[in-house]
Protein backbone atom coordinates (compact mmCIF):
# COMPACT_ATOMS: atom_id res chain seq x y z
CA UNK A 1 0.00 0.00 0.00
CA UNK A 2 1.02 3.57 -0.66
CA UNK A 3 2.15 4.79 2.76
CA UNK A 4 1.15 8.35 2.01
CA UNK A 5 -2.44 7.42 2.78
CA UNK A 6 -4.24 6.05 5.81
CA UNK A 7 -6.33 3.48 4.00
CA UNK A 8 -6.46 1.61 0.72
CA UNK A 9 -9.83 3.22 0.05
CA UNK A 10 -8.15 6.63 0.05
CA UNK A 11 -5.46 5.29 -2.23
CA UNK A 12 -8.03 3.95 -4.68
CA UNK A 13 -9.85 7.26 -4.73
CA UNK A 14 -6.51 8.98 -5.30
CA UNK A 15 -5.65 6.70 -8.23
CA UNK A 16 -8.90 7.59 -9.97
CA UNK A 17 -8.42 11.31 -9.31
CA UNK A 18 -4.87 11.11 -10.62
CA UNK A 19 -5.92 9.44 -13.89
CA UNK A 20 -8.67 12.02 -14.40
CA UNK A 21 -6.30 14.88 -13.60
CA UNK A 22 -3.71 13.50 -16.00
CA UNK A 23 -6.28 13.30 -18.78
CA UNK A 24 -7.42 16.85 -18.10
CA UNK A 25 -3.92 18.33 -17.95
CA UNK A 26 -2.88 16.58 -21.17
CA UNK A 27 -6.19 17.00 -23.02
CA UNK A 28 -6.43 13.25 -23.44
CA UNK A 29 -9.31 12.49 -21.13
CA UNK A 30 -11.86 11.84 -23.87
CA UNK A 31 -9.69 9.29 -25.66
CA UNK A 32 -8.56 7.60 -22.49
CA UNK A 33 -11.81 7.68 -20.58
CA UNK A 34 -12.80 4.09 -21.28
CA UNK A 35 -9.31 2.77 -20.58
CA UNK A 36 -9.06 4.18 -17.08
CA UNK A 37 -11.06 1.43 -15.32
CA UNK A 38 -8.74 -1.15 -16.87
CA UNK A 39 -5.65 0.76 -15.81
CA UNK A 40 -6.82 0.84 -12.23
CA UNK A 41 -8.09 -2.75 -12.20
CA UNK A 42 -5.84 -4.47 -14.73
CA UNK A 43 -6.97 -7.99 -13.87
CA UNK A 44 -7.23 -10.72 -14.99
CA UNK A 45 -8.18 -11.55 -11.41
CA UNK A 46 -10.17 -9.17 -9.26
CA UNK A 47 -8.55 -7.91 -6.07
CA UNK A 48 -11.37 -6.04 -4.35
CA UNK A 49 -14.71 -7.31 -5.59
CA UNK A 50 -16.47 -10.46 -6.74
CA UNK A 51 -15.23 -10.11 -10.31
CA UNK A 52 -13.07 -7.83 -12.40
CA UNK A 53 -16.08 -6.45 -14.29
CA UNK A 54 -17.76 -5.19 -11.17
CA UNK A 55 -14.49 -3.72 -10.00
CA UNK A 56 -14.16 -1.77 -13.24
CA UNK A 57 -17.79 -0.72 -13.20
CA UNK A 58 -17.23 0.78 -9.77
CA UNK A 59 -14.13 2.62 -10.99
CA UNK A 60 -16.32 4.12 -13.69
CA UNK A 61 -18.71 5.39 -11.01
CA UNK A 62 -15.79 6.86 -9.08
CA UNK A 63 -14.71 8.63 -12.26
CA UNK A 64 -18.13 10.24 -12.56
CA UNK A 65 -17.81 11.60 -9.04
CA UNK A 66 -14.26 12.73 -9.76
CA UNK A 67 -15.79 14.79 -12.57
CA UNK A 68 -18.41 16.42 -10.39
CA UNK A 69 -21.00 13.69 -9.93
CA UNK A 70 -24.74 14.07 -10.34
CA UNK A 71 -25.53 17.73 -10.96
CA UNK A 72 -29.14 17.23 -9.86
CA UNK A 73 -28.03 16.41 -6.35
CA UNK A 74 -27.00 19.52 -4.46
CA UNK A 75 -25.16 17.59 -1.75
CA UNK A 76 -21.41 17.32 -2.37
CA UNK A 77 -21.45 13.79 -0.95
CA UNK A 78 -22.97 10.89 -2.85
CA UNK A 79 -23.37 7.17 -2.40
CA UNK A 80 -22.10 4.87 -5.14
CA UNK A 81 -24.86 2.25 -4.85
CA UNK A 82 -23.02 -0.52 -6.70
CA UNK A 83 -19.95 -0.01 -4.53
CA UNK A 84 -22.00 -0.42 -1.36
CA UNK A 85 -21.46 -3.91 -0.04
CA UNK A 86 -24.86 -3.83 1.64
CA UNK A 87 -23.33 -4.69 4.99
CA UNK A 88 -25.66 -6.82 7.09
CA UNK A 89 -27.86 -4.48 9.01
CA UNK A 90 -27.44 -6.40 12.23
CA UNK A 91 -28.98 -4.10 14.73
CA UNK A 92 -29.11 -5.56 18.24
CA UNK A 93 -27.64 -8.99 18.57
CA UNK A 94 -26.81 -11.24 21.50
CA UNK A 95 -23.10 -12.02 21.56
CA UNK A 96 -21.31 -15.02 23.02
CA UNK A 97 -20.85 -13.09 26.24
CA UNK A 98 -24.38 -14.22 27.12
CA UNK A 99 -24.05 -16.65 30.01
CA UNK A 100 -27.56 -18.01 29.90
CA UNK A 101 -28.42 -16.59 33.30
CA UNK A 102 -31.60 -17.20 35.21
CA UNK A 103 -32.71 -13.60 35.74
CA UNK A 104 -33.56 -12.96 32.05
CA UNK A 105 -33.65 -9.21 32.55
CA UNK A 106 -33.37 -8.80 28.79
CA UNK A 107 -36.60 -10.69 28.27
CA UNK A 108 -38.43 -8.57 30.81
CA UNK A 109 -37.06 -5.34 29.34
CA UNK A 110 -38.33 -6.23 25.87
CA UNK A 111 -41.80 -4.91 25.15
CA UNK A 112 -42.03 -6.73 21.85
CA UNK A 113 -41.55 -10.23 23.08
CA UNK A 114 -38.52 -10.56 20.82
CA UNK A 115 -36.12 -12.33 23.20
CA UNK A 116 -35.97 -16.11 22.83
CA UNK A 117 -33.76 -18.69 24.52
CA UNK A 118 -31.82 -21.59 23.18
CA UNK A 119 -33.25 -24.64 24.87
CA UNK A 120 -29.95 -26.45 25.11
CA UNK A 121 -27.43 -23.66 25.81
CA UNK A 122 -29.95 -21.48 27.69
CA UNK A 123 -28.51 -18.40 26.00
CA UNK A 124 -30.66 -15.61 24.59
CA UNK A 125 -31.18 -14.70 20.95
CA UNK A 126 -33.29 -12.06 19.28
CA UNK A 127 -36.27 -12.73 17.03
CA UNK A 128 -35.48 -10.26 14.24
CA UNK A 129 -39.07 -10.23 12.97
CA UNK A 130 -40.27 -8.77 16.23
CA UNK A 131 -37.27 -6.63 17.28
CA UNK A 132 -37.58 -2.88 16.71
CA UNK A 133 -34.01 -2.04 17.77
CA UNK A 134 -35.05 -0.05 20.82
CA UNK A 135 -32.01 -1.19 22.79
CA UNK A 136 -33.81 -1.84 26.08
CA UNK A 137 -32.46 -5.41 26.29
CA UNK A 138 -28.88 -4.20 25.83
CA UNK A 139 -29.30 -1.77 28.70
CA UNK A 140 -30.78 -4.46 30.91
CA UNK A 141 -28.05 -7.07 30.41
CA UNK A 142 -25.52 -7.01 33.24
CA UNK A 143 -22.88 -8.73 31.11
CA UNK A 144 -23.12 -6.21 28.25
CA UNK A 145 -23.78 -9.24 26.10
CA UNK A 146 -26.14 -7.49 23.72
CA UNK A 147 -24.51 -5.23 21.15
CA UNK A 148 -25.83 -2.94 18.50
CA UNK A 149 -24.18 -3.67 15.18
CA UNK A 150 -24.50 -0.64 12.97
CA UNK A 151 -23.21 -0.29 9.46
CA UNK A 152 -19.95 1.68 9.58
CA UNK A 153 -21.52 4.49 7.58
CA UNK A 154 -24.48 4.74 9.92
CA UNK A 155 -22.19 4.62 12.90
CA UNK A 156 -20.05 7.38 11.42
CA UNK A 157 -23.03 9.62 10.76
CA UNK A 158 -23.85 11.50 13.95
CA UNK A 159 -26.90 13.22 12.48
CA UNK A 160 -28.61 9.99 11.39
CA UNK A 161 -28.66 11.06 7.76
CA UNK A 162 -27.75 7.61 6.47
CA UNK A 163 -30.28 4.83 6.20
CA UNK A 164 -30.89 1.77 4.07
CA UNK A 165 -32.45 2.06 0.66
CA UNK A 166 -35.05 -0.52 -0.42
CA UNK A 167 -32.34 -2.26 -2.43
CA UNK A 168 -30.26 -2.51 0.79
CA UNK A 169 -27.61 0.00 -0.31
CA UNK A 170 -26.88 3.03 1.86
CA UNK A 171 -28.68 6.27 1.14
CA UNK A 172 -28.09 9.80 2.37
CA UNK A 173 -30.88 12.09 3.38
CA UNK A 174 -29.54 15.36 1.98
CA UNK A 175 -31.85 17.40 4.19
CA UNK A 176 -30.23 15.92 7.29
CA UNK A 177 -26.62 15.77 6.05
CA UNK A 178 -24.17 18.39 7.34
CA UNK A 179 -21.29 17.34 5.03
CA UNK A 180 -18.89 16.39 7.82
CA UNK A 181 -17.59 13.66 5.52
CA UNK A 182 -17.18 11.05 8.27
CA UNK A 183 -19.01 8.44 6.18
CA UNK A 184 -16.70 9.09 3.23
CA UNK A 185 -13.67 8.36 5.36
CA UNK A 186 -15.25 5.53 7.34
CA UNK A 187 -16.97 3.37 4.70
CA UNK A 188 -14.69 0.32 4.41
CA UNK A 189 -15.73 -0.18 0.78
CA UNK A 190 -15.33 3.42 -0.32
CA UNK A 191 -18.96 3.48 -1.38
CA UNK A 192 -19.53 7.06 -0.28
CA UNK A 193 -17.54 9.76 -1.99
CA UNK A 194 -17.24 13.50 -2.13
CA UNK A 195 -17.72 15.12 -5.51
CA UNK A 196 -14.55 16.46 -6.97
CA UNK A 197 -14.13 19.72 -8.82
CA UNK A 198 -10.66 19.05 -10.21
CA UNK A 199 -12.04 19.53 -13.72
CA UNK A 200 -13.01 23.12 -12.91
CA UNK A 201 -9.68 23.63 -11.13
CA UNK A 202 -7.55 22.32 -13.97
CA UNK A 203 -9.54 24.25 -16.57
CA UNK A 204 -9.00 27.49 -14.65
CA UNK A 205 -5.27 26.81 -14.38
CA UNK A 206 -4.99 25.95 -18.07
CA UNK A 207 -7.08 28.91 -19.24
CA UNK A 208 -4.92 31.21 -17.16
CA UNK A 209 -1.86 29.91 -19.00
CA UNK A 210 -0.25 29.14 -15.64
CA UNK A 211 -1.37 32.43 -14.12
CA UNK A 212 -0.04 34.50 -16.99
CA UNK A 213 -3.40 35.65 -18.36
CA UNK A 214 -4.89 36.14 -14.91
CA UNK A 215 -3.54 35.23 -11.49
CA UNK A 216 -4.76 32.07 -9.78
CA UNK A 217 -4.25 31.97 -6.03
CA UNK A 218 -4.18 28.90 -3.84
CA UNK A 219 -5.40 29.44 -0.30
CA UNK A 220 -4.14 26.60 1.83
CA UNK A 221 -5.65 25.45 5.10
CA UNK A 222 -3.20 25.46 8.03
CA UNK A 223 -3.56 21.69 8.37
CA UNK A 224 -1.40 21.47 5.23
CA UNK A 225 1.57 21.56 7.59
CA UNK A 226 0.96 17.94 8.61
CA UNK A 227 -0.11 16.32 5.34
CA UNK A 228 2.89 15.61 3.19
CA UNK A 229 5.32 13.40 5.03
CA UNK A 230 8.88 13.08 3.80
CA UNK A 231 8.94 16.48 2.12
CA UNK A 232 9.08 19.97 3.56
CA UNK A 233 6.17 22.38 3.53
CA UNK A 234 8.30 24.69 1.38
CA UNK A 235 8.58 21.96 -1.25
CA UNK A 236 4.82 21.46 -1.21
CA UNK A 237 4.36 25.20 -1.78
CA UNK A 238 6.71 25.06 -4.76
CA UNK A 239 4.78 22.03 -6.03
CA UNK A 240 1.48 23.91 -5.83
CA UNK A 241 2.99 26.83 -7.72
CA UNK A 242 4.23 24.43 -10.39
CA UNK A 243 0.63 23.39 -11.02
CA UNK A 244 0.12 26.88 -12.40
CA UNK A 245 -0.77 28.92 -9.35
CA UNK A 246 0.67 32.39 -9.08
CA UNK A 247 0.98 32.29 -5.36
CA UNK A 248 0.12 30.30 -2.26
CA UNK A 249 -1.53 32.17 0.59
CA UNK A 250 -2.31 30.88 4.05
CA UNK A 251 -5.94 30.65 5.08
CA UNK A 252 -4.42 31.23 8.52
CA UNK A 253 -4.09 34.92 7.65
CA UNK A 254 -7.86 34.92 7.19
CA UNK A 255 -8.03 33.22 10.58
CA UNK A 256 -6.02 36.05 12.13
CA UNK A 257 -8.47 38.54 10.65
CA UNK A 258 -11.45 36.51 11.84
CA UNK A 259 -10.20 36.15 15.40
CA UNK A 260 -10.12 39.92 15.87
CA UNK A 261 -13.64 40.36 14.54
CA UNK A 262 -14.89 37.32 16.41
CA UNK A 263 -13.53 38.75 19.67
CA UNK A 264 -15.31 42.05 19.01
CA UNK A 265 -18.57 40.34 18.15
CA UNK A 266 -18.36 38.17 21.25
CA UNK A 267 -17.99 41.25 23.40
CA UNK A 268 -20.92 42.97 21.68
CA UNK A 269 -23.32 40.04 21.73
CA UNK A 270 -22.21 38.44 24.97
CA UNK A 271 -22.71 34.96 23.56
CA UNK A 272 -21.35 33.53 20.35
CA UNK A 273 -20.79 30.30 18.46
CA UNK A 274 -17.91 30.08 16.01
CA UNK A 275 -18.42 30.24 12.26
CA UNK A 276 -15.14 28.82 10.98
CA UNK A 277 -16.31 25.26 10.48
CA UNK A 278 -19.08 25.06 7.87
CA UNK A 279 -20.27 21.72 9.23
CA UNK A 280 -20.76 23.19 12.70
CA UNK A 281 -22.63 26.16 11.21
CA UNK A 282 -24.90 23.91 9.13
CA UNK A 283 -25.41 21.66 12.15
CA UNK A 284 -26.71 24.59 14.19
CA UNK A 285 -28.92 25.86 11.38
CA UNK A 286 -30.47 22.47 10.74
CA UNK A 287 -30.74 21.06 14.24
CA UNK A 288 -30.68 24.01 16.64
CA UNK A 289 -32.21 26.83 14.58
CA UNK A 290 -33.17 28.68 17.75
CA UNK A 291 -29.43 29.29 18.27
CA UNK A 292 -28.81 30.45 14.70
CA UNK A 293 -28.70 34.11 15.73
CA UNK A 294 -25.78 33.28 18.01
CA UNK A 295 -23.61 32.11 15.11
CA UNK A 296 -20.81 34.56 14.46
CA UNK A 297 -21.60 36.65 11.40
CA UNK A 298 -17.99 36.53 10.26
CA UNK A 299 -17.11 34.81 7.07
CA UNK A 300 -14.89 31.78 7.56
CA UNK A 301 -11.11 32.34 7.46
CA UNK A 302 -11.05 30.92 3.93
CA UNK A 303 -13.72 33.32 2.68
CA UNK A 304 -12.25 36.27 4.61
CA UNK A 305 -8.82 36.05 3.02
CA UNK A 306 -10.33 35.21 -0.38
CA UNK A 307 -12.47 38.34 -0.17
CA UNK A 308 -9.39 40.42 0.56
CA UNK A 309 -7.50 38.96 -2.39
CA UNK A 310 -10.44 39.37 -4.78
CA UNK A 311 -10.80 42.99 -3.75
CA UNK A 312 -7.13 43.68 -4.36
CA UNK A 313 -6.44 41.65 -7.48
CA UNK A 314 -8.57 42.14 -10.53
CA UNK A 315 -9.78 39.15 -12.49
CA UNK A 316 -8.04 36.71 -10.23
CA UNK A 317 -9.31 33.21 -9.50
CA UNK A 318 -9.09 31.63 -6.09
CA UNK A 319 -8.99 28.02 -5.02
CA UNK A 320 -9.06 26.70 -1.50
CA UNK A 321 -7.08 23.57 -0.67
CA UNK A 322 -7.90 21.81 2.58
CA UNK A 323 -8.88 18.65 4.43
CA UNK A 324 -12.55 19.40 4.21
CA UNK A 325 -15.56 18.24 2.22
CA UNK A 326 -17.85 20.74 3.88
CA UNK A 327 -15.88 23.57 2.30
CA UNK A 328 -17.10 22.30 -1.07
CA UNK A 329 -20.62 22.95 0.12
CA UNK A 330 -19.70 26.27 1.75
CA UNK A 331 -18.62 27.83 -1.53
CA UNK A 332 -22.03 27.12 -3.04
CA UNK A 333 -23.43 29.74 -0.66
CA UNK A 334 -23.87 33.04 -2.48
CA UNK A 335 -22.06 34.89 0.30
CA UNK A 336 -18.92 32.86 -0.39
CA UNK A 337 -19.21 31.82 -4.04
CA UNK A 338 -18.12 35.24 -5.25
CA UNK A 339 -14.82 34.90 -3.43
CA UNK A 340 -13.79 31.27 -3.81
CA UNK A 341 -14.00 29.64 -7.23
CA UNK A 342 -13.10 26.04 -6.43
CA UNK A 343 -12.50 23.94 -3.32
CA UNK A 344 -9.93 21.17 -3.54
CA UNK A 345 -8.88 18.62 -0.95
CA UNK A 346 -5.42 17.42 0.01
CA UNK A 347 -6.24 14.12 -1.69
CA UNK A 348 -7.02 15.97 -4.90
CA UNK A 349 -3.91 18.12 -4.56
CA UNK A 350 -1.75 15.01 -4.25
CA UNK A 351 -3.45 13.56 -7.33
CA UNK A 352 -2.86 16.73 -9.35
CA UNK A 353 0.79 16.98 -8.31
CA UNK A 354 1.40 13.36 -9.31
CA UNK A 355 -0.60 13.70 -12.53
CA UNK A 356 1.80 16.45 -13.56
CA UNK A 357 4.68 14.24 -12.49
CA UNK A 358 6.00 16.84 -10.10
CA UNK A 359 8.53 15.22 -7.79
CA UNK A 360 8.14 17.17 -4.55
CA UNK A 361 11.33 15.73 -3.08
CA UNK A 362 13.46 17.26 -5.82
CA UNK A 363 12.00 20.76 -5.55
CA UNK A 364 13.50 23.87 -4.01
CA UNK A 365 11.61 25.28 -1.07
CA UNK A 366 9.37 28.32 -1.35
CA UNK A 367 8.47 30.35 1.69
CA UNK A 368 5.00 30.28 3.19
CA UNK A 369 4.50 32.99 5.75
CA UNK A 370 1.46 35.19 5.89
CA UNK A 371 -0.08 34.49 9.26
CA UNK A 372 0.66 34.52 12.96
CA UNK A 373 0.98 31.62 15.38
CA UNK A 374 -2.65 32.10 16.34
CA UNK A 375 -4.00 31.94 12.81
CA UNK A 376 -2.10 28.75 12.16
CA UNK A 377 -3.32 26.85 15.19
CA UNK A 378 -6.91 27.14 13.91
CA UNK A 379 -6.10 23.78 12.32
CA UNK A 380 -6.63 22.03 15.61
CA UNK A 381 -9.40 22.02 18.14
CA UNK A 382 -8.87 24.79 20.70
CA UNK A 383 -6.85 27.00 18.38
CA UNK A 384 -9.66 29.39 17.58
CA UNK A 385 -10.37 29.84 21.26
CA UNK A 386 -6.73 30.64 22.02
CA UNK A 387 -6.81 33.17 19.19
CA UNK A 388 -10.01 34.87 20.36
CA UNK A 389 -8.60 35.16 23.90
CA UNK A 390 -5.39 36.65 22.49
CA UNK A 391 -7.42 39.02 20.30
CA UNK A 392 -9.38 40.29 23.31
CA UNK A 393 -6.11 40.81 25.17
CA UNK A 394 -4.44 42.60 22.26
CA UNK A 395 -7.45 44.87 21.86
CA UNK A 396 -7.23 45.76 25.53
CA UNK A 397 -10.67 44.41 26.24
CA UNK A 398 -11.72 43.58 29.77
CA UNK A 399 -14.42 41.21 28.53
CA UNK A 400 -13.91 37.74 29.92
CA UNK A 401 -14.27 34.99 27.35
CA UNK A 402 -15.55 31.79 28.89
CA UNK A 403 -15.13 29.35 26.08
CA UNK A 404 -16.15 25.76 25.67
CA UNK A 405 -14.18 23.86 23.06
CA UNK A 406 -15.99 21.02 21.35
CA UNK A 407 -14.87 18.78 18.51
CA UNK A 408 -16.82 16.03 16.78
CA UNK A 409 -20.55 16.44 16.22
CA UNK A 410 -21.52 14.48 19.34
CA UNK A 411 -19.64 16.91 21.56
CA UNK A 412 -20.95 19.84 19.56
CA UNK A 413 -24.46 18.58 20.18
CA UNK A 414 -23.93 18.40 23.94
CA UNK A 415 -22.70 21.99 24.09
CA UNK A 416 -25.57 23.23 21.94
CA UNK A 417 -28.17 21.44 24.04
CA UNK A 418 -26.71 23.09 27.13
CA UNK A 419 -26.70 26.47 25.41
CA UNK A 420 -30.31 26.00 24.36
CA UNK A 421 -31.28 25.35 27.96
CA UNK A 422 -29.64 28.61 29.00
CA UNK A 423 -27.92 29.26 32.32
CA UNK A 424 -24.55 28.02 31.19
CA UNK A 425 -21.08 28.79 32.48
CA UNK A 426 -19.70 29.56 29.02
CA UNK A 427 -20.28 32.38 26.57
CA UNK A 428 -18.41 31.14 23.52
CA UNK A 429 -18.69 27.79 21.74
CA UNK A 430 -15.82 26.80 19.50
CA UNK A 431 -17.33 24.00 17.47
CA UNK A 432 -15.55 21.78 14.97
CA UNK A 433 -17.33 19.00 13.12
CA UNK A 434 -14.30 16.73 12.98
CA UNK A 435 -12.68 15.11 15.98
CA UNK A 436 -9.45 16.98 16.74
CA UNK A 437 -10.49 19.85 14.47
CA UNK A 438 -9.39 20.25 10.85
CA UNK A 439 -6.42 17.90 11.30
CA UNK A 440 -9.05 15.17 11.71
CA UNK A 441 -10.72 16.17 8.44
CA UNK A 442 -12.05 13.46 6.11
CA UNK A 443 -9.67 14.36 3.28
CA UNK A 444 -6.49 14.61 5.35
CA UNK A 445 -3.95 12.29 3.82
CA UNK A 446 -3.12 10.87 7.22
CA UNK A 447 -4.58 11.15 10.68
CA UNK A 448 -1.87 10.85 13.28
CA UNK A 449 -1.77 11.61 16.96
CA UNK A 450 1.30 13.81 16.62
CA UNK A 451 -0.41 16.07 14.08
CA UNK A 452 -1.58 18.41 16.84
CA UNK A 453 1.99 18.99 18.03
CA UNK A 454 3.15 19.47 14.46
CA UNK A 455 0.52 22.16 13.94
CA UNK A 456 1.69 24.00 17.03
CA UNK A 457 5.28 23.73 15.81
CA UNK A 458 4.26 25.17 12.44
CA UNK A 459 2.51 27.97 14.34
CA UNK A 460 5.66 28.82 16.27
CA UNK A 461 7.68 29.11 13.05
CA UNK A 462 5.57 32.07 12.00
CA UNK A 463 7.37 35.40 11.61
CA UNK A 464 4.61 37.37 13.31
CA UNK A 465 4.07 36.47 16.92
CA UNK A 466 0.91 38.44 17.61
CA UNK A 467 -2.32 38.68 15.66
CA UNK A 468 -1.98 42.46 15.53
CA UNK A 469 1.42 42.20 13.83
CA UNK A 470 -0.01 39.86 11.30
CA UNK A 471 -3.13 41.80 10.32
CA UNK A 472 -2.21 45.43 10.89
CA UNK A 473 -1.91 46.03 7.16
CA UNK A 474 -5.06 44.18 6.24
CA UNK A 475 -7.70 45.92 8.28
CA UNK A 476 -10.29 47.82 6.35
Amino acid sequence: MDTRFDTSVQELKYKVLKEIAKGLFNDTLLEEYNEIPQRISPGPKSTMRCCIYKERAIVLERMKLALGGNKDINNVIEVIPIACDECPLGGYEVTNRCRGCIAHRCEKACHRDAIRFDEVKRTAFIDKDKCVNCGMCAKACQYNAIQNYLRPCEQACKVKAISMHEDHSAQINDEKCVQCGACVYQCPFGAIMDKSYIKEAINILKDSDNSNKYPVYAIVAPSIAVQFKGVTLGQVVTGIEKLGFKSVVEAALGADMVSYKEAQELEEKGFLTSSCCPTFVTFIKKYYPELADKISTNLSPMATIAKWIKEHSEKCKIMFIGPCISKKQEIKDEKVSKYVDVTLTFEELQAMIDAKEIDLKSLEESPLDNASYYGRIFARSGGLTDAVKEALKEQGSSFEAKPIVVDGLENCRLALIKAKGGNVDFNFIEGMGCIGGCIGGPCCLTHEVRDKMEVDKYGRESKEKTIQDSIKHFQD
Binding site: V249, E250, I309, H312, S313, P367
Partner: protein, 83 residues
Protein backbone atom coordinates in the same frame (compact mmCIF):
# COMPACT_ATOMS: atom_id res chain seq x y z
CA UNK B 1 -1.57 56.79 -8.30
CA UNK B 2 -1.76 53.33 -6.81
CA UNK B 3 1.20 51.82 -5.06
CA UNK B 4 1.04 48.09 -4.52
CA UNK B 5 3.29 46.49 -1.94
CA UNK B 6 3.78 42.77 -2.16
CA UNK B 7 2.70 41.05 1.03
CA UNK B 8 3.29 37.52 -0.27
CA UNK B 9 5.27 35.09 1.87
CA UNK B 10 8.62 35.88 0.37
CA UNK B 11 8.32 39.66 0.63
CA UNK B 12 6.70 39.36 4.04
CA UNK B 13 9.77 37.58 5.31
CA UNK B 14 11.98 40.18 3.65
CA UNK B 15 10.18 42.97 5.45
CA UNK B 16 7.24 44.21 3.40
CA UNK B 17 5.43 45.36 6.54
CA UNK B 18 8.33 47.66 7.40
CA UNK B 19 8.17 49.06 3.87
CA UNK B 20 4.43 49.66 4.20
CA UNK B 21 5.01 51.52 7.45
CA UNK B 22 7.70 53.72 5.91
CA UNK B 23 5.47 54.34 2.92
CA UNK B 24 2.47 55.33 5.02
CA UNK B 25 4.69 57.66 7.04
CA UNK B 26 6.19 59.36 3.96
CA UNK B 27 2.79 59.73 2.29
CA UNK B 28 1.55 61.51 5.41
CA UNK B 29 4.63 63.74 5.65
CA UNK B 30 4.30 64.79 2.03
CA UNK B 31 0.51 65.21 2.38
CA UNK B 32 -0.15 62.92 -0.55
CA UNK B 33 -2.99 60.95 1.05
CA UNK B 34 -5.38 62.04 -1.67
CA UNK B 35 -3.02 61.23 -4.50
CA UNK B 36 -1.54 57.92 -3.49
CA UNK B 37 -3.58 54.86 -2.85
CA UNK B 38 -1.74 52.17 -0.95
CA UNK B 39 -2.67 48.58 -1.67
CA UNK B 40 -1.33 45.19 -0.77
CA UNK B 41 -0.94 42.40 -3.27
CA UNK B 42 0.09 38.77 -3.08
CA UNK B 43 3.19 38.11 -5.16
CA UNK B 44 4.45 40.22 -8.03
CA UNK B 45 6.41 37.28 -9.35
CA UNK B 46 9.84 38.52 -8.29
CA UNK B 47 10.38 36.31 -5.26
CA UNK B 48 13.95 35.42 -6.21
CA UNK B 49 15.22 38.98 -5.94
CA UNK B 50 16.51 40.39 -2.65
CA UNK B 51 14.29 42.94 -0.93
CA UNK B 52 10.60 43.68 -1.27
CA UNK B 53 8.75 44.14 -4.55
CA UNK B 54 6.43 47.07 -5.08
CA UNK B 55 4.41 48.18 -8.07
CA UNK B 56 3.93 51.85 -8.90
CA UNK B 57 1.10 52.01 -11.42
CA UNK B 58 2.44 49.51 -13.95
CA UNK B 59 6.10 49.63 -13.03
CA UNK B 60 7.45 46.88 -10.81
CA UNK B 61 10.33 47.92 -8.57
CA UNK B 62 12.23 45.17 -6.83
CA UNK B 63 14.74 45.13 -4.03
CA UNK B 64 13.10 47.73 -1.81
CA UNK B 65 14.48 47.74 1.73
CA UNK B 66 14.13 50.15 4.64
CA UNK B 67 17.68 51.31 3.76
CA UNK B 68 17.01 52.34 0.18
CA UNK B 69 13.38 53.24 0.77
CA UNK B 70 13.82 57.01 0.62
CA UNK B 71 15.65 56.78 -2.71
CA UNK B 72 12.94 54.57 -4.15
CA UNK B 73 10.22 56.89 -2.89
CA UNK B 74 11.94 59.99 -4.29
CA UNK B 75 12.89 58.50 -7.63
CA UNK B 76 9.92 56.34 -8.48
CA UNK B 77 6.96 57.85 -6.66
CA UNK B 78 7.62 61.53 -5.97
CA UNK B 79 9.04 62.28 -9.42
CA UNK B 80 6.06 60.61 -11.08
CA UNK B 81 3.56 62.59 -9.09
CA UNK B 82 5.38 65.87 -9.48
CA UNK B 83 6.37 65.26 -13.07
Amino acid sequence: MTVFVCVGSSCHLKGSYEVIELLTKRVKEEHLENQIELKGTFCLGKCGVAGVSIKVDDEIITGVTPKNFDDVFNNHILTKIKG
